[in-house]
């Protein structure tokens, strides 16, 4: 016991001396998701390679993180050297000149290896403003065993009508299984991420070419109608407060037959340590409402990425760190320490060409297809960047307000029509005020 205490003391003394010798301390703000927490645990590899850089982690829940980094960057508070942000922030912040373009990520970094849609989403004027740590699109996760027992087969490109019937059939034959689990918790990054993607699969956007909100359009009506019907009839109780996590818990407990959500869910539900149904999960594309689905049904794109705030005194060291955290070597490092299935997904082509990975990750192909098919760029009928969100500053507040109305529809305190009309009104009000609608 005493010897062990002494050893610990010696180690911490050593660590202290090491820290004292360090030239630069980077403060890194990041979100508390599993992949980032793993990165925190692997810090030693970085500090060994770069003894002159010390790392200080600020790990926060997504919403708190977002409000912290936005307040800080907008007021030039200078509290962080590296910020974890998403594909929503990057185009807006880059346009404000808030970010440092990443041009020196290292010789063997291979920028061209980053999946094209992701690279595109994180660039402005041909410059990369944030490096992707992990990326996701949306997919269908379903229980192969339940489908088999019900005599169903998941088509290669499922439609929402098929999904609804399958949900009906399975929930009728199984007492303690809900036919379908979907996000209901209000928030622009929660239920609206899902509903935005679903509405797009019916051909509807958030705004038309003249920035008029589209919540009362045919596509939104059909999508929300079907969504509310499926949730109330075949969904779990409390659906209006279920977000990604709540659904994940339900799915891992074997309570959901189907779940449409971010592709990153795939590695959680196939992990036997966390999931009781790890062996029985099947993967299919995100369903579609109409034929010739926009984006081939891939209407969701998100990448948690690392960026450097403009004006940082430590930009060089920060870029060195980002180069390490998003490199090919980092993927190898995680694979070596934690196994290939735990590698941060969705960022690099080479990962999906690596057989060591594809053999360990049954969801690899579905993830890659979903990401590669997603195209968030501006179109004739869609004046904004983004699929499940619109990359304009007003969208966070507006999306959340609309999400509230949708949650009210799911909980039954409002009809779908009322909810959509309230959403339309709130959105029109906000867009008029912000000067989009003249």
């Amino acid at each position: 016991m005493f010897r062990r205490a002494l050893a610990t003391g010696a180690i911490s003394l050593f660590a202290f001396v090491g820290a004292a010798g360090a030239q630069t301390t980077l403060t890194i703000a990041t979100v508390n998701n599993g992949d980032m927490i793993r990165m925190q645990g692997l810090t030693q590899d970085f500090t060994e390679k770069h003894p002159d850089i010390a790392l200080n982690w600020v790990t926060l829940e997504e919403n708190v993180l977002r409000q912290r980094v936005t307040t800080d960057i907008a007021t030039s508070g200078g509290q962080f050297d590296v910020m974890t942000i998403g594909t929503y922030e990057v185009p807006i912040w880059a346009a404000n000149d808030w970010l440092v373009p990443l041009e020196n990520l290292g010789d063997d970094y291979d920028v061209d290896d980053i999946l094209p849609p992701i690279r595109e989403a994180l660039s402005a004027n041909g410059k990369l403003y944030a490096a992707p740590f992990y990326a996701e699109s949306a997919m269908t996760l379903y229980r192969k065993d339940l489908f088999e027992a019900a005599g169903l087969e998941m088509p290669a490109a499922p439609t929402w009508d098929f999904i609804e019937q399958a949900a009906k059939k399975i929930s009728e034959t199984n007492d303690d299984v809900y036919g379908i689990c979907l996000r209901g918790k209000p928030g622009w990054g929660e239920n609206m991420a899902f509903l935005g993607a679903m509405a797009r699969s019916y051909g509807a956007n958030y705004f038309d070419a003249s920035w008029q909100p589209q919540f009362e359009s045919e596509g939104w009506k059909t999508a929300v109608d079907q969504y509310v019907r499926m949730m109330t009839e075949y969904g779990p109780p409390g659906a209006a407060s279920n977000g990604f996590n709540e659904n994940l818990s339900l799915f891992n407990q074997g309570r959901c037959a189907m779940w449409m959500d971010a592709t990153v869910a795939a590695s959680f539900v196939t992990n036997p340590k966390e999931s009781q149904v790890a062996e029985n999960v099947g993967f299919a594309p995100f369903p579609c409402g109409i034929e010739n689905c926009p984006n081939k049904g891939a209407n969701w794109l998100w990448a948690w990425s690392l960026a450097i705030p403009a004006g940082s005194q430590k930009a060089e060291a920060a870029e060195t760190f980002i180069g390490w955290a998003t490199s090919k070597d980092y993927l190898e490092l995680v694979a070596e320490k934690e196994g290939w299935a735990n590698v941060p997904p969705g960022t690099r082509t080479s990962l999906y060409e690596n057989e060591a990975y594809t053999s360990k990750a049954p969801f690899a192909e579905a993830t890659l297809n979903a990401i590669n098919n997603a195209d968030p760029s501006i179109k004739d009928d869609k004046p904004y960047v983004g699929l499940q969100f619109a990359a304009i500053p007003e969208f966070q507040g507006l999306g959340t307000a609309v999400g509230q109305q949708m949650a009210a529809a799911v909980s039954g305190s409002m009809s779908v029509e009322q909810a959509l009309s309230a959403a339309q009104q709130a959105a029109t009000r906000e867009m008029t005020r912000a000067g989009y609608i003249k």
């Binding site: 600020v58 829940e61 996590n245 994940l248 966390e274």
Partner: protein, 276 residues
């Protein structure tokens, strides 16, 4: 003092009292139990009460991920620092209000309390800018100032009501004897005021410990207390009930234990002179 109580009545109240007590305490108890489960056991249906594999892995993991003691020490610094500064300001003010009241005393008190009603989030940006310009972001000093100002009205109020209970005659007698103001305070007032000050300290420490808006928004690493520690465990991707429970237990244990040990002082002061 003791009342004669029939045994039957006593047993009846014992059953009732314990049932109610355990019901109210249950969420805390359940958090502590869950903190010893695996993530899968934490969401199992039906819930597992006692017979599961008790594990410490959540605590180990929480500690590996974030250095609990650094956060806790900051919580201690902030709670004690803001309370100490608060006392320095509040004791004289409350003393003056209690012993030399004027017509406006009550108005001043209520004005002080009303400053607590403004929504903090409305002034976040101004405060952030001021802190940035003064170099106070992520410093304990900055947060101590904020927490002290937030709690000052409550401290003045509590001390005021407590001091008012002290009979003025004693003071007057001391004055007749020619005691100076200093002597008045140190030799006559202080001994009588100690219990009230003690409970004020306690309440201020509790409130500062649990303050979660400013402590989250004005800190990054150096000054981040346990509220920031919790923010890194609430709703991550993946199952998290067990880890959240462990982190929660660690965050509330110190203040709960202090509170339990000193509940008698707390009770005495919390009455705000309401008991006559």
């Amino acid at each position: 003092m003791a009342r004669a109580v029939s045994t039957r009545r006593k047993i009846g109240f014992t059953v009732l009292g314990w049932t109610v007590g355990l019901l109210i305490f249950f969420p805390v108890l359940w958090t502590v139990i869950t903190s010893f489960k695996t993530e899968l056991a934490a969401i199992s249906i039906p819930p597992q009460w006692v017979f599961f594999d008790w594990t410490l892995e959540n605590y180990v993991e929480v500690q590996e991920r974030s250095n609990y003691f650094r956060f806790m020490m900051n919580s201690v610094y902030l709670a004690l620092g803001s309370t100490l500064v608060g006392l320095i300001f509040a004791v004289p003010a409350a003393w003056a209000m209690a012993f030399s009241p004027t017509k406006s005393t009550k108005n001043i008190l209520l004005w002080m309390l009303s400053t607590k009603m403004l929504p903090a989030v409305g002034v976040l940006v101004p405060i952030y800018l001021i802190f940035r310009d003064m170099g106070l972001l992520d410093t304990r000093t900055g947060l101590i100032v904020v927490l002290f100002l937030i709690n000052l009205p409550i401290m003045v109020w509590m001390l005021y009501t407590y001091f008012r209970e002290i009979p003025v005659e004693i003071l007057e007698a001391a004055r007749m004897d020619g005691a100076t103001l200093m002597k008045e305070i140190t030799q006559v007032l202080a001994p009588m005021a100690v219990p009230g000050i003690a409970s004020t300290v306690l309440l201020s420490v509790i409130l500062a410990w649990n303050e979660a808006f400013w402590t989250l928004n004005l800190t990054t690493t150096d000054a981040a207390p346990l509220t920031a520690f919790i923010a890194s465990f609430s709703s991550p991707q993946g199952n998290f009930y067990a880890k959240l429970s462990a982190a929660s237990t660690m965050a509330i244990a110190p203040i709960l234990i202090i509170g339990w040990f000193s509940q008698r002082q707390l009770v005495r002061g919390l009455t705000f002179g309401a008991v006559k």
